[in-house]
């Protein structure tokens, strides 16, 4: 009876975890759609802003000025919405990937929350801004925060990429262990066994190499923390390409070992 209850607990635990993952995946997909929609809205309002501001500069009338302020408010709102939705999608992706190193993730989450609060304040100020001066103040605020916004977002993207490779690496370690256990119990000739052993040793070597490469990429991430821009993110991507290629080869080796 006790064994049955333990089995039931484990079963429902796994079931709830699986369903939680499904829900998370669905949420992430919905957020991506929401992000794309907000980006489309921004593009439309940016076009309207360009028309309204050009008319204002040409005509210099009060009516044209009013229209330009309205268009600027709209484009500012849709622009900040794009960034807020994007951050939300990044947070969701980060939650979906269990391979992200926890202390770095915690620091980043804190920075993301700070940024979201700052942007929400900016949004609230835009909503009540009725004249050109107030709107222009918010334009300047957003421009001044450009580097901070980009830095935090690129850090999140880098951790997501690092986490994904880490997940693949962890799975390789688990699968390699499973394959080794299976091979040790499977009936086969000594020649085939030694052949399989050599293959397994090759996978072990790849595991060691990938571990070192991932550690180096994490060091690179830490070194770029002060000025994390798009080029730093590209460097992380390039740095991860090598361990990723190794993982692809190791996956192939593991599959061959079981044949």
């Amino acid at each position: 009876m006790r064994k049955l209850s333990i089995f039931g607990l484990v079963f429902f635990g796994i079931l709830s975890l699986t369903s939680m993952d499904r829900v998370k995946a669905q949420v992430s997909s919905e957020l991506k759609t929401k992000y794309r929609t907000s980006l489309d809205n921004y593009r439309t309002s940016e076009d309207q802003f360009v028309i309204a501001s050009t008319q204002y500069y040409t005509l210099k009338t009060l009516a044209a000025g009013e229209e330009a302020v309205r268009a600027t408010r709209e484009v500012n709102l849709s622009r900040v919405d794009v960034i807020l939705t994007y951050i939300e999608a990044l947070r969701s992706s980060m939650d979906l990937i269990p391979g992200i190193e926890l202390s770095r993730k915690a620091t980043l989450v804190q920075d993301l929350e700070g940024l979201v609060n700052s942007l929400k304040g900016h949004r609230a100020r835009i909503e009540i801004a009725t004249n050109r001066i107030l709107i222009e103040n918010e334009n300047q605020f957003f421009e001044a925060n450009q580097d901070t916004i980009a830095s935090i977002c690129y850090r999140a993207l880098s951790l997501i990429k690092l986490g994904a490779v880490q997940v693949a690496f962890d799975q390789l370690v688990v699968t390699h262990s499973d394959v080794s256990t299976y091979l040790s119990q499977a009936p086969m000739s000594e020649t085939v066994r030694s052949q399989k052993q050599r293959g397994s040793d090759e996978v072990s070597r790849i595991i060691d190499e990938v571990k070192t490469m991932l550690a180096q990429t994490l060091i690179m991430y830490d070194q770029n923390l002060k000025n994390f821009d798009s080029s730093a993110f590209r460097s992380i991507q390039q740095s991860l390409s090598q361990p990723y290629n190794k993982l692809t080869v190791a996956k192939q080796f593991v599959e061959e070992l079981t044949q």
Binding site: L39, A168, Q171, V174, S230, Q237, Y244, L247, E255, T258
Partner: protein
């Protein structure tokens, strides 16, 4: 010059005949230069191969090249496909694997596919940070 039909001597008969060289030296029945040029042109035209024949030769050589390429390269293209086709023995081995191991291998495949660092589903938003109304 008149030829005597009663003369059966071949040597004197031949000598009595007027040849072109004699005519040209006398200048009585000379071919006009324009006719000569025309003759030359016609012989040149005959010598020149017509464009239709050139086209046919080109088409034929193209056909030959395609045939040779097909014969040389097709086996090379087909071979890898056939070599990658798993043998029934391999399929049988895969199906004999324990379920947990099959799941583990599948999880590895999925995680490696998702780990490609060069793909980015969420690129940084292309928004303009320098919007101003002055």
């Amino acid at each position: 010059m008149m030829v005597d039909p009663s003369n059966t001597d071949q040597t004197s008969f031949v000598e009595s005949l007027d040849f072109h060289d004699d005519q040209s030296s006398q200048g009585t029945a000379r071919t006009p230069p324009a006719d000569k040029e025309n003759e030359k042109l016609t012989t040149q035209r005959k010598k020149k191969t017509s464009p239709l024949i050139i086209l046919l030769i080109l088409l034929f050589s193209l056909f030959l090249t395609i045939m040779i390429t097909t014969v040389v390269f097709i086996p090379r293209v087909i071979n890898p496909q056939t070599s990658f086709t798993p043998t029934p023995q391999t399929e049988q081995n895969k199906s004999n694997l324990p379920e947990a191991l099959t799941k583990s291998i599948k999880a590895l495949e999925d995680s490696v596919t998702l780990a490609d660092p060069l793909t980015n589903e969420l690129p940084f938003p292309p928004v303009n940070f320098q919007l101003h109304l002055q």
